[in-house]
Structure formats: C-alpha cells, structure tokens
C-alpha cells in the first residue's frame, strides 16, 4: 500500500512546571485545549474540518474518562470532531502522534491534532482494598443493624491510601519501580554517580541558557494560572541556574538508599504539562494554504525486558533507522527523553558497543550519538517529564529547533515504563 506524506503544520506546548507548583491547579484537559484552539485558529482550517483529536494521558482523572474528546470540545472544535485518549505509559503522546501519522499516511484522515497532557499534581490518593470493601458493605446494608455491623469492621489502617502516582511508576510485571530499573542499568554498565551528575548538570545549564536566549518562544504558549486564572505562566518552572555538579553530588540516592547512584537530582522531576501538534495531509496543506514546518518520516515502538526499560531508545531507534535507511550520523538533532541520566548514558554505550547491543537483540553497533546535537535546549532532567505529554513534547521541541538550525532530519526517542521504547523521525521543511 502506498503511503501519503504526513505534514506537521505546527506544534505548541505549555510551559512545564514541577508538580505542586505553578500548574498544580490546572486540570488536565486545560493543559491541551488552548493549544489545540491556537493551532487551528492560526490556520485557515475551519473548526468543523478537523477529523480527530488524539491525546496521550496516563493518570486519567476520574472526571474526564476521555480527555481527547473533552479537549476537542473545549478547544471550540465542531461537535462532530472525533476525539479519544491513548495510553502507552511514558510514550502516550508519541503514541497519539503515531496514530495521527498512520491515519493520514493511509488516507483515512486529512487533519488531526495529536499530543498529550498530564497533571501529575492532580493524581489522586486512592482508598485501599479494605476500605473500598467496607464502603461496598455499607452501601448494601439495609437496616441500621447491618450498617452498624459494617462500620464496626473498620480498622485505622483502612485509611492508609494508595498513592496513585507511586503505584503507576512501579512495574506491575517485575515489581521494580522505574528508578530501581535504572539502578540495575547503572550497576551492569558501571555508570558512575559522577557521570550521571555531570550529565544532569549539563541539562540544567542548557535549559537555563535556552530560556534566557528565548529559544522556547516559538514552542511555548503561555497559559493562565493561579486560583483566579489571572496570571500568565510564560516559562518552564524547573531548570536551575544555580545547579552545580558539586551540589548534585550532595544528594542522597533515592531508589537504593544504601548503595545506589540514582538520585532525584539526576532523574527527571514529576511534572505538569501538555503539548499538541497539528498534522495534515498534502491535500489539506494545499486546500488550506498551510505552511508546514516539518514532515513526519516514520515511527517505531519496540519492547524489551521491563526491568531494563531504560534501554528502550536503543531498540526503538534501531527499528526506525532500519525502516528508513537512516543512521545516527544522518540526524542533525536528537531529542531523547532524560528519564534518568544513567539510562541515556547506557543507551549511548550500547550504540557504540556491539556486545552490549547484542544483549538487547540489536545486531550491530550504530556508532555514537553526537552529544553536541543531543537535547540542545536541555532535557527532562531540567524541563521535567509530564508523562502523557513528553512523547509529543519532544517532537514539538525538535521541530522548532531543527527549523532554527536549518537542519534536515531529527529524531525523538524515549524509554517507556513497562519495558518498551519509542522513536519518531521528522524532516525539517523550513531550510
């Protein structure tokens, strides 16, 4: 089947803020709706000609079972616009983008907005099993006696809540939480604490410099925040201009408190944010006089063992490079999600070393990522990782920076909790 070209007309994101800070009161749909509205308003596409809105989200709020549809409506799109939500853990936003790509490439759709939103601040505490059972018994009880009997079974530990975010970041299959899987990689590949801290510090320095230079102006759309929504948040909240390697070295390991090397400082923080990209077919580009900034070349998702999920980018990039006949040296920019410093460093080792690559069923050494082209405006360690959004956020950042640098190909990739990797290649059209 012949596939059609898929264009990225534009991409926007919210400023990202560490959970509990500036974006804490913004409910998830509102992290996306205004972006979608802006993307469509800024074109000649009528609001009733958008085929679909696809949004990634992992901590699905009970109030909004289908955030994608809510965002389509809140964005002022026509009520006939189809909308849905996808979940592929850390790559939910990338999954949304990939579905948009496929649907346009195969000719099903012409205009799709895809992205992701995550309010990690608003992830709930949940009643545990015992308390839930007690509520169920209470609701069934008819007489006062039955009610009293149900109540009498209450024990104080029933009130110990399940913290949704903590449970979500623990792999249900291997039982390790994400940080522990990275401790495993650090141990196996002998990645030192100092190497991780240096990497993390560089991320902060690059992000701070990028903000100062106004590098994010084209990709960030300010958002109204505060209890009465009367103030615009313009910049990311997270990058620290006073970050030092020495400072980072003082932090205690978090996931293996006794002998580990992974700290809160060399991992990405829990973050709120959203992102969205407008995708169009060639027909739509012509019909609406669109001026796309990039073309999406292809994508690939790939699984590996859950306890080494941090190597996801290796297998995913391997897959997408094979399919597109591109190699590491073809890329002018790399946007790799810095879930953990150790995990990025491990991926690069595997690109260089055939024997390490082989352990993940990759049968060649691809070479090396040019670190001067990697996350040039900082990565998730500084900017944060709003889980449902990041997969799309990487592509937004990549497209705008490729355009500024007049580069050609760029690749975005990330590791996925549960043992997967995802990668997307785009081609800059503004050269």
């Amino acid at each position: 089947m012949s596939m059609r070209d898929v264009y990225i007309v534009d991409g926007k994101r919210t400023p990202q803020a560490k959970a509990g800070l500036d974006l804490k009161d913004v409910q998830a749909p509102y992290l996306g709706a205004y972006l979608v509205k802006h993307l469509i308003d800024n074109t000649e596409i009528p609001t009733n000609m958008v085929d679909e809105v696809i949004m990634g989200n992992t901590g699905n709020p009970a109030k909004y079972p289908n955030i994608g549809r809510v965002i389509a409506l809140e964005a002022g799109l026509h009520k006939k616009t189809s909308g849905y939500t996808v979940h592929r853990n850390c790559a939910s936003g990338m999954e949304a983008v990939s579905q948009a790509f496929l649907k346009i490439a195969c000719g099903r759709s012409d205009v799709i907005v895809a992205g992701g939103v995550e309010s990690m601040s608003q992830m709930p505490l949940i009643y545990n099993k015992e308390m839930t059972a007690l509520f169920a018994k209470l609701m069934k009880a008819k007489s006062m006696g039955e009610k009293l009997s149900a109540l009498s079974s209450f024990r104080p530990n029933y009130l110990t809540p399940i913290i949704a975010i903590e449970q979500g970041l623990t792999d249900p299959f291997c039982g390790l939480n994400m940080g522990q899987t990275v401790e495993l990689l650090a141990r196996e590949f002998k990645i030192t604490r100092e190497e991780q801290d240096i990497f993390a510090n560089t991320s902060h320095q690059k992000a701070v410099a990028a903000i100062k230079a106004g590098k994010f102006k084209d990709e960030i759309l300010p958002i109204a925040v505060g209890g009465t929504l009367n103030k615009l948040l313009v910049d990311d909240v997270g990058p620290r201009d006073n970050s030092t390697v020495e400072g980072l070295a003082k932090m205690k390991p978090y996931f293996d408190k006794k002998s580990g090397t992974v700290t809160v400082g060399n991992s990405c923080p829990i973050t709120d944010g959203g992102s969205a990209l407008l995708f169009a077919s060639e027909d739509a580009v012509k019909k609406y006089n669109l001026k796309p900034i990039a073309k999406m070349t292809d994508y690939h998702f790939h699984g590996l063992e859950p306890e080494r999920m941090g190597m996801g980018p290796l297998v995913a990039m391997d897959g997408v490079m094979r399919r597109t006949n591109l190699t590491l040296s073809d890329f002018d920019l790399f946007e790799l999600n810095e879930a953990f410093a150790a995990q990025i460093l491990a991926v690069n080792m595997a690109f260089k070393d055939k024997s390490i690559a082989a352990r993940f069923d990759v049968d060649k050494a691809w070479g090396e990522i040019d670190f001067s082209k990697l996350n040039v405006n900082g990565g998730a360690i500084a900017l944060g990782h709003p889980v449902g959004s990041t997969g799309a956020r990487l592509i937004v950042t990549l497209a705008h920076e490729l355009k500024k640098r007049k580069g050609k190909y760029g690749i975005a990739s990330l590791c996925i909790g549960g043992g997967q990797g995802g990668a997307v290649i785009i081609e800059n059209l503004v050269r």
Binding site: Q27, G76, A224
Partner: protein
C-alpha cells in the same frame, strides 16, 4: 369554542385552561380581552365544578407562561379610580379561582411574571419546568408599581414574609429550583412531563411542615416580629433608594397595615395603592424608560443589501481596564476572544479584570466553577497577531492617541479577513479621522463602552461618512446580543454621553473655584438622584483623563466648553483620582472611599461660598440640558429619547426622573430658558448662552419630546 385568547378543554373530567392560544406574539400578556375571557372560563368551571376532578392551567406558548399585565394598558390609565378599578376586576377573577371548590394546579414553563405569578398564587399548587427559560417573579416595583392582583396578599402566605418582601421589593426573578427551595413551587419537572404530572397534585394534602419550617414560622408569623421585620426592611429600602422611590414604600405601607385585615379589605387597599402608583409621575417615568428600552431592541437604522457579517469570534486590542472588560464581555458571549497587548504584564492586567468580573458572577452563583474556568480560559492572552484570521470583530482599546490608534488599525487590517469588523473604543477621538487609516473603512465604526464594562449597559455606536449600513446593523445586533443597550450616534467631540457629561464635570470645577465645597456640590447632585456627585465621578474617571477629554471638547465646541483650571491643577499635583488612591477623595486598596482629601481642600479658595441646593443643581444640570439641545441641533442623535436612554444607561441619570430631557420638558422649557439667561448674565456669558435649538422650542411652545417624536 368561542374562545380566542385562552383555550378550554375537558378531558377525563379535568378542565385544561391554556394561555397563549392563537397568539402570534412571543410573550403572552394579560390584556382586557384575555381577562374577560378568563372570567367567563372560570365562571363556567365554577358551574361544572361538582363533576370535575380539577383544573390545570398551562400555556401553549413556548418559553412563556404569562408575562404579566399588558403595560400599554397600564400606561393608558389616566385616573386613580380607573386604575384601581382595573386592579379590582383582576382581583375578582383571581378570587374566583382561589375559591373554586376543586383542585387547581398551574404548570409554569417559561416566563411567569407579575399578573402571571399572581394568577398562579391563586391556585392551590404551582409546578414548574426546569427549563432555564422559566423565571418567576413580581417585577412591578421596577415600573414604580405595586402588584395589584393580590400578589402582595398571597405571596407572604405561600413563602413567608421575609422572602415575599425580598421578592416584591426588589422585583427579582427566581429560577424554578430556587422557587422550589422557597416553597413557591411544589415540584420541578422537565417541561415535556409537566402536564402529565399535574394530576398527581389533585389529591395532595397540605405539605407536612418540617420542624425547621415550624420554628421559622413561629418566629416570623407573630405580631411583634412582623413589626420588627417591617421596620428593618423599611430602613434598608430607604438606605438603598435614598427615599427617591415611592413604590417600595407604598408596598410596605399596604403590607404592613394589611397584616390584620381579611381578604376583601386587604385587596381593596392593594387596589387603591395600585391606582395611586399607576398614574404617578414616577411610575410614568419608569414606564417611559421601559418603552424606550423595548423600542431600542429593534434596529431601525439604514439597511444595506449585503448579508450581515456573522460575529462569532472576537479580539480585544489592548488589555487595560477597558480591554480586559471587553475581553470579558466577548468571553461571556461565547466568542473565545483573543486579547492582545505589548507586554505580558499588560496582559496580566487584562486577565485580572476579566477574572474579577467572572469571579463576581461565580460568587453570585450565576455561573458554576467549571463555567468560570471555561469562560476565563476562553480568553487567549497573547502578544502577536496569530489566530487573527479567524476573528470577526475587533474592538480596539489602546491608549487614546490618534497616531497610535491609526497605526494599530493599519496593522490589524493586514491580519484579519475581509469581512471582519474593526471598531474603536475611543471615548474622545474623531472616528471620521481614524477611519482614514483603513483600506476598507466601510467595516469600521466607533464602539464606545463605558467603564466598568460589566456594569454599564450603554454602548455608543459611532458612525462616519464611509461606514457601511451592514456594519452598523451587525454591531447594533451584536450589542443587543451581549445584553447591552446600543445607541447610534454621529461623530463629534465626546459623541453623545461624554459631551453632555462634560458641563456637569466642568461646572463643578468652576463652582469649586468660586468657593463652594466638594461636599456641597456632590451632595446636591446626590440629592437630585445622581449615583455620584461630579467630584466623586471625576475621581472615578481619572482626573488626568478628564483634563484630556475637556481639552478635546474645548477644541471642538469652543468657549462654552472652556475648561475650569481646577482639574488640571489637581492632575499636575498627581491627584489622579481612584486609580492612584487620591483625588478629591482618598481611597483604600480596594477602591473604597476613606474620606475627603485634605490636601485638595487646601488648594481651594479660603473664602467659602454657600449656595442653596437648588441653585447648585441648576448650575450643574442646566448646562447639560443646554448641551443636549445643541446635540439635537447638530444631529448627533435625532430624538430626545436616545439622549435620555443614553444618559440613564451611560452615567446612571436617575431613572425615576425619566431622563434629562423628560425632566426638562416636565419642568417647563420656558423656565429652563429663563434660568439659563439669568446665569448667562450672573455667572458666565458663554457657558450659559442658551442654545438656539432650545430658544426655538420655547418660541414654538413645544417640548423636546414633541419636537423629536
């Protein structure tokens, strides 16, 4: 069936009485024919009562049960006894309904006001639809009237004295759910199910009183507490109305003295009071305003041949107090506006303004927290022109500077589609001149809002020589859609309202220079019924702004608008009014007056001058009347009604006076002219020189209203 206004059907031994039958009008009112027909229907039912299970009242009209008595009928009444008589006839019909020996249920879907609610109260049970169009109330007081069909008698019995007083004295309307909580309505249903549910109430016993209700009743329904309630309410009414309005006081008299009376003698006093109020000048003035504001709802200006542009999306340029207010208005009207300014700090100011307005609505429970979030977020605050290609209406509210505004319009025109209307919220600059900045001036007009946007109902639509009729008509309809009152005016210094306001503010400056105190001047204006005295209003407007506007007026109108020097003196000393917390008065952070500004007092002449209140009022209001005459002469607007409506809705000219020119007409124009002539000799020749237009009116023995009808 011989009925033409009300349907009557019998089905399964139930009588169905349907209003709004055969009616073309969107609202059903109780006119003479309807009342006559209702009487014969009720009498017929009375005869057949023994064979009936009950009566159900309903309406055939969508979204309207009964909108009350026909106001044309009320306004045509000329004598007290005629009006009282009409009220008694209505009371009689309703008494007969009340006395029917069988169950009576009324199904309210849509508007149920005045005589409509009074009819419902005469029935044993009221049920209502949950439609948002269902509004229930007794708004008579707003027209300077008392409900005359037994409303003041029956409502307290239904919902208790305190709630009844609140509804009757404020004229406010209730939604169905609120009416149910108050006990006015027995149950609320979807409108489609209303009729089917009505029979359920035929054999309903009187509702069982809860303990709370019984205690409440005990507390409010005894002689002593009722006296105390009346006293408190009377005090609060006097405070709120400054005693200017007779109707609420009359209502209190009737209800207070009627406490111990039986139905017949109570209703006689209610009808008597209705008669007195209905023909009072005050009520006639309020009815006059009602008719004017109804008339304004139809566009009567020139029509074009092209289809009107659809105004779905909006943009506000400039995010100051006005820009933020305009963005709020557009967001509230569902236009998802863009608000553009040059800096993020400026945008934040605008967001703060719109947020405050929405927060007020949230606090008054007019909107839910979700709606607050959605509406406030529907405003996109931004620094560039992205997204402007989807905008249908731009309202500019940047600084009052012709060059800057022209530049902004030229730039904006490049970023919008061809049908997009471009408007300026200028309060003093020439719209004709501004239109020259545009490639297509036909789509441009002035659109002048008053501060604060969310409270002031008036919008001046200012036309110029190249404006297309489609532009004016589309703007007119849009203003109406946002629930504001449009008035189309020609270009000229200060347009309509500010031009008449100018002498009010300017004369205050001269009076101060003559040695009259701030307090005396403001008090005289307040006692006339103005919402603010001129000094207080100057603080509100901003003294520096007023100085600028005064200069524009002087340049445009000549010596009669020669500005008093006092305001510029204050502005130079940085007394700018409320915005920097010090003007004639001092203000706290919340903008509340804390007291007079002693520093300003020191700038006033040492020799104090005492003037009588009447003289002060003449000094302030005569030049306004004179300027209004000049406006009619210049053809800025064509009718006295437009001027009066503009001043009432634009600056809060006291409604009970019916408007500035209605007041002038009622005082006698010959007297007004004589007073002007007198002041032109004793005070200032130029400022009080009578307008030729006014002289002509006096000469031809006519009035403003007769002349411009």
């Amino acid at each position: 069936m011989a009925n033409t206004k009300i349907s009557l059907e019998y089905k399964d031994n139930i009588a169905y009485v349907g209003f709004g039958y055969n009616s073309e009008k969107s609202m059903t009112t109780l006119d003479v024919a309807t009342m006559t027909e209702l009487l014969s229907i009720v009498e017929e039912i009375q005869e057949k009562a023994s064979g009936l299970k009950g009566v159900i009242f309903h309406s055939h009209k969508k979204d309207c049960f009964l909108a009350g008595a026909d106001i044309n009928l009320i306004s045509s009444m000329t004598t007290e006894s005629e009006a009282a008589d009409k009220a008694e006839q209505g009371q009689n019909v309703y008494n007969k309904i009340e006395d029917l020996p069988i169950p009576t249920v009324v199904c309210v879907d849509g508007v149920c006001l005045g005589g409509g609610l009074e009819l419902s109260l005469a029935c044993k049970t009221i049920i209502a639809s949950n439609s948002p169009k269902t509004t229930i109330g007794l708004p008579e007081v707003k027209l300077g009237l008392i409900p005359g069909f037994g409303g003041t008698y029956r409502l307290p019995k239904k919902i208790g004295l305190p709630n009844a007083l609140d509804m009757i004295l404020t004229g406010k309307t209730l939604r169905a759910d609120k009416a149910k909580r108050m006990g006015l309505v027995a149950e609320v249903y979807p409108k489609e199910n209303l009729l089917a549910m009505a029979q359920k109430f035929f054999d309903m016993k009187a509702p069982h009183h809860t303990l709370k209700e019984s205690v409440k009743e005990l507390a409010t329904e005894n002689f002593v507490t009722r006296k105390i309630i009346f006293q408190k309410v009377r005090e609060s009414v006097l405070k709120k109305t400054n005693g200017f309005y007779q109707a609420p006081l009359k209502i209190l008299d009737v209800m207070d003295s009627g406490m111990m009376k039986g139905r017949t003698s109570y209703l006689a006093s209610e009808a008597q009071a209705f008669g007195e109020l209905a023909i009072s000048e005050q009520s006639k003035n309020l009815q006059h305003i009602y008719f004017m504001s109804e008339a304004v709802k139809k566009y009567t200006g020139p029509k074009g041949t092209k289809p009107l542009p659809e105004l779905n999306r909006g943009a506000a340029l400039g995010a100051g107090t006005m820009g933020g207010g305009i963005a709020w208005l557009m967001a509230d009207a569902g236009m998802s506006p863009i608000m553009k300014d040059l800096t993020v700090d400026a945008l934040n100011l605008g967001l703060k303004q719109s947020s405050q307005n929405f927060a007020g609505a949230l606090k008054r429970k007019k909107i839910s927290p979700d709606e607050f979030e959605r509406k406030q977020r529907s405003i996109t605050a931004q620094l560039d022109y992205s997204g402007f290609q989807k905008v249908d209406l731009v309202i500019e509210a940047v600084v009052e500077n012709m060059d800057i505004k022209k530049k902004v319009f030229a730039e904006t025109e490049k970023n919008v589609h061809r049908e997009c209307l471009l408007t300026s919220n200028t309060s003093s600059l020439s719209v004709e001149e501004m239109s020259k900045a545009l490639e297509f001036p036909g789509r441009f007009a002035g659109l002048h809002f008053f501060n604060p946007v969310h409270l002031m109902p008036l919008v001046e639509i200012i036309v110029h020589s190249k404006v297309e009729p489609e532009t004016v008509e589309a703007l007119y309809k849009w203003v109406l859609k946002t629930k504001k009152t449009p008035v189309v005016v020609k270009d000229g210094p200060g347009f309509l309202v500010n031009r008449i306001l100018m002498p009010y503010l300017n004369e205050a400056g001269y009076l101060l220079e003559e040695g009259v105190s701030v307090k005396d001047i403001d008090q005289a204006a307040l006692n006339f019924g103005m919402p603010m005295g001129p000094c207080r209003l100057l603080d509100e407007v901003g003294i520096d702004v007023a100085v600028k506007v005064a200069k524009v007026m002087y340049e445009g109108l000549g010596e009669r608008a020669h500005p008093s020097k006092f305001s510029s003196k204050l502005a130079e000393k940085n007394f700018l009014g409320k915005k920097n917390s010090k003007g004639f008065y001092l203000y706290d952070e919340k903008g509340k007056v804390t007291g007079p500004n002693a520093e300003v007092e020191e700038l006033l002449p040492k020799d104090k001058k005492k003037m009588s209140e009447t003289d002060l009022q003449l000094r302030l209001f005569l030049p306004m009347i004179n300027e209004a005459a000049a406006i009619l002469k210049d053809g800025i607007v064509n009718t006295a009604g437009e001027i009066d409506l503009g001043l009432i809705f634009g600056i809060g000219f006291p409604p009970f006076r019916g408007g500035l020119l209605r007041y002038a007409d009622s005082e006698g124009l010959d007297k007004i002219l004589a007073a002007l002539n007198n002041f032109s000799e004793t005070v200032d020749k130029e400022r009080y020189r009578p307008s030729a237009y006014l002289e002509n009116l006096v000469e031809s023995k006519t009035t403003f209203y007769e002349k411009t009808r």
